[in-house]
């Protein structure tokens, strides 16, 4: 008898503990948002809650890869998520996403520029599942005082002159993008021969590289520690502000254009609130305050019109004219076998 009573008490404590994570919802329900860290101005959330009476439960992730298992397992049922291009494609392939009702998101089609919808078709062929939120390119950041001649090609990263002055991205797909584009291949190639060529190029480049880095490109370039680095365009504006000698260029061989978009998962408990949230984020004023907070390019043309600073509104870094460049591609999810091939080749490069 005593034992049963004890068991009962224990389970009661457990259940009450498990319940204490729930919080009171707003007058019009709630919306659970899963976004990148530092990827939304908190002010935008406050305005949304004030206007709609919907409580926002905001959660953040740090990489696509760490977000995916949590969503797939359904540990928390999110209403709105902001993954990157190739991850959206993977989620679509695994049937995790719900079709959006664009009647509830009028601001999306009205304000977001046509080129971004076109580019999105690479991972969401009918533009039915995602609404672009942030985008950018990958290019070369160089220090004007430390290089000579015009820089407009990936081949400068193979120039002996800049030995020990080159920074490369330390991630498989980013590094192979450079290697593949240099040789004129698609950065989504799964052809063993093309990948082998890219691998050899990258091995050949290795003695010239000062370091393989991720975040440190920013700080190292600002501190004049290197002449040339591969960087994301969103970071380029910030680095330029800190060090006016820096210049960003999109190489003529083409590059990666990435897009992070809002999606709604299939198991979303508050789909309609999620669509309201996405619609709110597509409003020009809201997109503007988010752009100013994040500094990554916004696909929202109406918001761009509102930018007061001429230099930024017309910046070729933040808003390059996409029609001028060729071979701009978006990363695609290549499947497990290709992933393994990439990783094996990358290991060979790193251990060379």
């Amino acid at each position: 008898m005593k034992k049963i009573f004890l068991l009962f008490i224990c389970s009661a404590i457990l259940l009450s503990l498990a319940g204490c994570g729930s919080s009171s919802s707003g007058e019009n329900g709630e919306v659970i948002v899963y976004n990148w860290g530092e990827y939304l101005d908190p002010e935008a959330i406050r305005l949304f809650e004030e206007e709609t009476g919907i409580k926002v439960i905001y959660d953040e992730f740090e990489t696509n890869e760490i977000m995916y298992p949590k969503v797939e397992a359904g540990a928390t049922e999110y209403d709105v998520i902001c993954p990157s291009d190739y991850m959206i494609q993977k989620m679509l392939e695994n049937d995790l996403l719900a079709e959006l009702d664009f009647n509830n998101i009028p601001n999306a089609k009205a304000n977001i520029g046509v080129p971004y919808w076109e580019q999105s078709k690479e991972f969401d062929p009918e533009n039915k599942y995602s609404v672009p939120y942030c985008w950018g390119t990958v290019g070369i950041l160089y220090n004007k005082t430390m290089v000579d001649g015009t820089i407009d090609s990936w081949s400068v990263l193979w120039d002996e002159k800049y030995k020990d002055n080159i920074l490369m991205q330390d991630s498989v797909r980013d590094a192979f993008m450079v290697g593949l584009k240099l040789n004129g291949f698609s950065m989504n190639s799964t052809d063993a021969g093309e990948l082998e060529t890219a691998k050899n190029s990258l091995i050949q480049q290795k003695p010239l590289v000062q370091a393989y880095v991720v975040d440190q490109v920013r700080d190292k370039m600002i501190g004049n520690e290197a002449a040339i680095g591969v960087i994301y365009s969103g970071e380029a504006i910030y680095t330029q502000r800190e060090n006016p000698d820096l210049e960003y260029v999109i190489p003529k061989e083409g590059t990666n254009i990435w897009i992070d978009s809002w999606v709604i998962p299939k198991n979303a408990p508050n789909k309609e609130n999620g669509e309201k949230f996405i619609d709110f984020m597509c409003r020009p004023e809201i997109a503007l305050i988010n752009f100013e907070y994040i500094t990554y390019s916004t696909p929202n043309d109406a918001a761009r019109e509102l930018i007061e600073d001429d230099d930024i509104r017309n910046s070729s870094i933040a808003f390059p004219d996409l029609s001028q460049y060729q071979n701009l591609e978006t990363f695609q999810y290549l499947g497990e076998e290709a992933d393994r091939l990439y990783n094996d080749l990358w290991k060979e490069i790193k251990s060379e």
Binding site: A18, A75, D219
Partner: protein, 260 residues
């Protein structure tokens, strides 16, 4: 002479190794510029904006609350478990200790994912509660690890003597056994506390939407670069711990002096 200077140099080197990273972080918490590459001038602005940042402060309270509650719970459960294990015969004790040791050797990511799956299948709502439960779970083995050796050193006759003299088992435990194992319990508590404080992986998999601890909060900032407010917070935590250690080490000495 040479020997003593060599000794001193060695000590200095060790201290540099241990504290240079923390010193760097503290210096940057006063840097006006956001990048580490540039010194923008001396400022307290990050400390001020830290106090105004609701999210970071909430994450700090969550972290402290979880660490405190989970380590206290683990201490109670772990100590009780030790009493039971101590009274088992040799074979059963070895088996049970083996079982309690496995979670410590297990990779955090395995523990994290399996806890997440367990919570899903039990239909728990993810939030502070699930983090707390998982922290208690992974803390218990550490408490047992610290308390068990103390338990083994106990002389069972003292407890029996207390019972013979008319004390109830509970009274006998608190008067006779507990004071002897107290150092083990305390070190178990501290160990559990620190383990809970800096756990990331398990917390990541068992947390619900909108609940963050410091470690998960800092990690989400990786994409856009860690904000200097975090340097300021780390500096404050470091200085607080240093002061506490200083006070703890100083206090008994003063008492002794007074006694003399």
């Amino acid at each position: 002479m040479i020997k003593t200077t060599a000794k001193k140099i060695y000590i200095v080197l060790i201290f540099i190794f241990l504290y240079a990273p923390i010193a760097t972080l503290m210096v940057f918490s006063f840097n006006k510029s956001r990048t580490r590459a540039k010194w923008g001038g001396f400022t307290f602005q990050w400390y001020l904006s830290l106090l105004g940042n609701r999210e970071i402060m909430q994450a700090l309270w969550n972290t402290l609350f979880i660490a405190l509650v989970s380590s206290l719970s683990a201490v109670v459960i772990g100590t009780v478990a030790c009493i039971a294990i101590n009274n088992m015969n040799k074979r059963r004790r070895a088996v049970i200790l083996g079982i309690t040791n496995i979670p410590m050797l297990n990779a955090d990511i395995v523990t994290g994912i399996s806890l997440m799956l367990l919570f899903i299948s039990l239909g728990f709502k993810f939030g502070l509660g699930t983090i707390l439960l998982s922290h208690i779970t992974f803390n218990i083995p550490y408490v047992i690890l610290c308390v068990m050796p103390r338990m083994k050193q106990l002389n069972p006759s003292t407890y029996e003597a207390a019972l013979d003299l008319g004390a109830s088992p509970v009274l006998a435990f608190f008067k006779v056994v507990f004071p002897d194992i107290l150092p083990g319990v305390l070190s178990g508590f501290l160990m559990a506390f620190t383990m809970s404080l800096d756990d990331f992986i398990i917390t990541h998999f068992t947390k619900g939407a909108g609940v963050d601890t410091l470690s998960t909060k800092i990690y989400t900032e990786v994409k856009k670069g860690i904000k200097p407010e975090m340097y300021a917070l780390s500096t404050i935590i470091f200085v607080t711990v240093l002061l506490l250690l200083f006070l703890v080490n100083k206090a008994p000495k003063e008492k002794n002096e007074r006694r003399i």
